[in-house]
């Protein structure tokens, strides 16, 4: 056993008391769906976790009707102070059950337990705690006096941060006084269903939050429902376009948080050790299945070789394997479909002439896995420099002058995030000004906080989540 090897330290699944089958959470209760069922599996070993209901159009109808009733009879009449108290309760219940939620998240999503335990679930609680305090302070949100809730919010979320994306959507919506119909991703419904149980423990009034599980058709039914006043979506740019078209001509307010192809720019005077860590965090956090992942490394030519060598050395120490093992750095890819996309784009990278390097690690027999991979010699025209791969694949490009770095960074239809690494403060500020991206991390990467607005420029979508700006997405001002 080398000094880098550890005995397995798996988190116990025994903390979970899952039901064999989950229905839809509508009007405060679980009920069977009428659209059939599907199973959710563990991407780490393809084992069955639970059977989940598919919400049909009629089920979505019932959920929207429940949300409308709750909005009109209960939630819009409740004081901001009391809405806030419910949200504080939810935040506390999440903290109380955080270990259970972390295990469920890693089981269903495939992400390492140390990420779900140390990042996802603490942020979920923080999100509810932050917005809880806003509920009775909406006059100070910058939208003029007495801003009004929109009504029923239809929310569709992705599989990469299942419970965190739920929190990003539900916490500000409820604080602002809206009611919610939320559809979790098809491959990761588990924590949303556990969250529904938490809502029952919190005694949240029936219908304020409704959770309808299913695939794309269920999501489309939520988005297109005529009695939905607000649509919030996180996912692919292709689906985002369809949603923007679907709401054309309606009064629905929309926020879209879509894809990205972030540049992580490393100047030659960067603190190299920190930068290498930041590059690893940027693209290998959550197996690179992050819309704001630093998937394009834009490194100054003079330090290219050194950075790439150090990266390879660093990646060679990462441990890939059982997501529930506390020592695991790299977990499973969320689904076979996603794994095939990562494989396909990597194959195209080979074909287009980029040089592939893959960390030498054992791949488990079962489940969906992709070892950390770096492509060097990547040109801006390559597909792996343009398309969002959404996997643990880093494309390395080089630059000579700051202007070239900026133009390469901005040379994408996306504009979600970017990174800058340099010791020179004035350069950070100048480059940050010129990057067309909604979040710029300087000498850090992939940091999130409920008080910090997040969202894209250009085809990465519109609207912000987080902070005071995140409230504006769920309110209409008097002016």
């Amino acid at each position: 056993m080398s000094f880098l090897e550890y005995a397995p330290a798996p988190e116990s699944r025994a903390i979970l008391s899952l039901k064999p089958e989950y229905g839809l959470f509508i009007d405060g209760e679980f009920r069977p769906g009428t659209g059939g069922t599907f199973e959710t599996i563990s991407p780490a070993d393809e084992s069955h976790i639970a059977t989940v209901a598919t919400a049909s159009d009629e089920d979505v109808d019932a959920a929207v009707a429940a949300a409308r009733r709750a909005f009109e009879r209960t939630w819009s009449k409740m004081s901001g102070r009391d809405r806030g108290k419910y949200l504080f309760r939810i935040a506390r219940l999440i903290q109380e059950r955080s270990r259970e939620l972390a295990v469920a998240e890693s089981l269903d999503n495939g992400k390492p337990i140390k990420e779900s335990r140390d990042v996802d679930i603490p942020l979920v609680a923080a999100w509810f705690f932050y917005y809880a305090g806003w509920a009775d302070k909406l006059d100070y949100a910058g939208l003029g006096p007495n801003p009004k809730a929109l009504g029923v919010a239809g929310q569709v979320i992705p599989w990469n941060f299942p419970l965190l994306m739920l929190a990003w959507k539900i916490a500000p919506a409820l604080a602002a006084g809206n009611t919610v119909v939320l559809k979790p991703a098809e491959t990761t419904p588990l924590t949303a269903l556990l969250f529904a149980e938490i809502l029952q423990q919190a005694d949240l009034p029936p219908g304020v939050v409704n959770i309808v599980t299913g695939a794309g058709a269920t999501g489309a039914a939520v988005v297109r429902h005529p009695d939905v006043d607000k649509v919030a979506f996180t996912g692919s740019t292709a689906v985002g376009r369809e949603i923007a078209k679907a709401v054309a001509g309606t009064d629905k307010k929309v926020t879209l948080e879509l894809g990205g192809k972030a540049a992580n720019i490393i100047f030659e005077d960067a603190p190299i050790d920190q930068a290498v860590d930041g590059i690893v965090t940027g693209i290998f956090f959550n197996q690179g299945q992050v819309c704001c992942a630093g998937s394009r490394l834009v490194v100054q030519e003079s330090i290219h070789d050194e950075v790439v060598e150090r990266l390879k050395a660093r990646l060679s120490t990462l441990r890939l394997g059982d997501p529930l093992d506390k020592n695991t750095d790299i977990g499973a890819i969320n689904s076979l479909e996603q794994l095939n996309r990562v494989r396909e784009l990597s194959r195209i990278g080979d074909e287009e002439g980029a040089e592939r390097w893959t960390a030498d690690c054992a791949i488990p027999d079962k489940g969906f896995w992709f070892a950390p991979t770096i492509f060097t010699n990547v040109q801006t025209s390559h597909r792996i420099a343009r398309d969002e791969i959404f996997g643990p694949v880093l494309s390395v490009l080089t630059f000579r002058t700051p202007d070239e770095a900026i133009s390469k960074a901005n040379n994408t239809p996306y504009g979600l995030s970017a990174g800058i690494w340099t010791e020179k403060g004035s350069r950070i500020l100048a480059v940050a000004d010129k990057l067309r991206a909604g979040v710029v991390w300087a000498n850090t990467f992939n940091r999130f906080d409920p008080s910090s607005p997040f969202g894209g420029y250009k085809e990465s979508g519109y609207g912000r989540e987080g902070g005071r700006h995140g409230l504006a997405a769920y309110l209409k001002g008097a002016a």
Binding site: I428, N443, T444, D449, S451
Partner: protein, 287 residues
């Protein structure tokens, strides 16, 4: 002595700081409320729209890169120039719309005052719309609004001047550049406003004005990938749902038509609608 023969103006387009005729060679008759001939306005084509977008796109970097204080001064200068041409704008509104001189004067006065109101926002908007964020960690974290880029505008069609001012000015405040399709029936004030802009230190390409058929031009703006925002305030009589769907293809930020006397009323939200919030993080601890 015989009555002096007037020298009528040729009304052309305003693209990239120049006053070209439509490349299509087309023009259309503008008539008074009573139906009398007033002028031949240029009938802008798809090519004119594309030229205007190209000019606007080229002007984004410079205009958004000026200091907010400078943008405020330039926009205030526009108000000064408008004030100097008050009589001309009043006459044109009377001629085009048939309202009384008093009503036209009120519209011009409100246009000038509204322009001043927006000019004053330039160096304050970022303070009101942005903020520092108290994140749970040793990070400096700040959010600031930035311009969306090129904004296509279908100006209110029942207004000669005020509707134009109410849609153009807020887009310019944070540093956007615009391509505006003027009122089809009352386009003369738009070209006179262009003359004001051309003599007010507004850089070439920051405002581009097209006259002609909004129904013909707007779809080219909506689907143009270099148009990043689409203000459909005056598109109520067009197939505006199709325009929104065209805009969706490149996720262009888009608004809906507004009707009535409160259409495009001055507000902070009108400035904010074509801005993007950028959040920058930096560690506070030593690296």
């Amino acid at each position: 002595m015989s009555k002096r023969l007037t020298v009528p103006k040729t009304y052309k387009l305003f693209i990239g700081g120049k006053f070209p005729r439509s490349e299509s060679g087309r023009s259309y008759e503008v008539v008074s409320a009573k139906g009398d001939f007033l002028a031949n306005a240029a009938m802008a084509s798809r090519k004119d729209a594309r030229d205007a977008v190209s000019a606007a796109d080229g002007a984004v970097k410079g205009w958004s890169g000026t200091t907010a204080y400078n943008r405020g001064q330039v926009l205030y200068r526009v108000a000064e120039m408008l004030e100097g041409r008050r009589a001309q704008f009043v006459d044109e509104i009377v001629q085009q719309t048939g309202v009384s001189s008093a009503v036209a004067t009120a519209e011009v006065d409100e246009s000038i005052d509204r322009w001043v109101w927006y000019a004053g926002w330039c160096d304050k908007f970022a303070q009101v719309a942005g903020n520092g964020n108290p994140v749970a960690g040793p990070y400096f974290n700040i959010s600031v609004p930035e311009p969306t880029g090129v904004v296509g505008i279908v100006a209110p069609q029942d207004s000669a001047l005020l509707g134009l001012v109410s849609t153009i000015a807020p887009a310019l405040v944070p540093g956007n550049t615009v391509v505006v399709v003027a009122s089809q029936r009352h386009p003369l004030s738009a070209i006179s406003l262009s003359e004001v802009l051309a003599t007010s230190d507004v850089p070439a390409g920051v405002v581009n004005v097209l006259t002609g058929s909004p129904a013909e031009i707007a779809p080219w703006l909506a689907s143009h990938p270099d148009v990043h925002g689409l203000d459909l305030t005056g598109a109520g009589e067009l197939d505006w749902i199709d325009l929104q769907m065209d805009a969706a293809q490149t996720l262009t930020r888009v608004t809906s038509p507004e009707q009535g006397p409160d259409a495009a009323a001055p507000s902070l939200a009108r400035i904010a609608q074509f801005t993007e919030t950028k959040t920058v993080w930096h560690p506070k601890s030593l690296v």
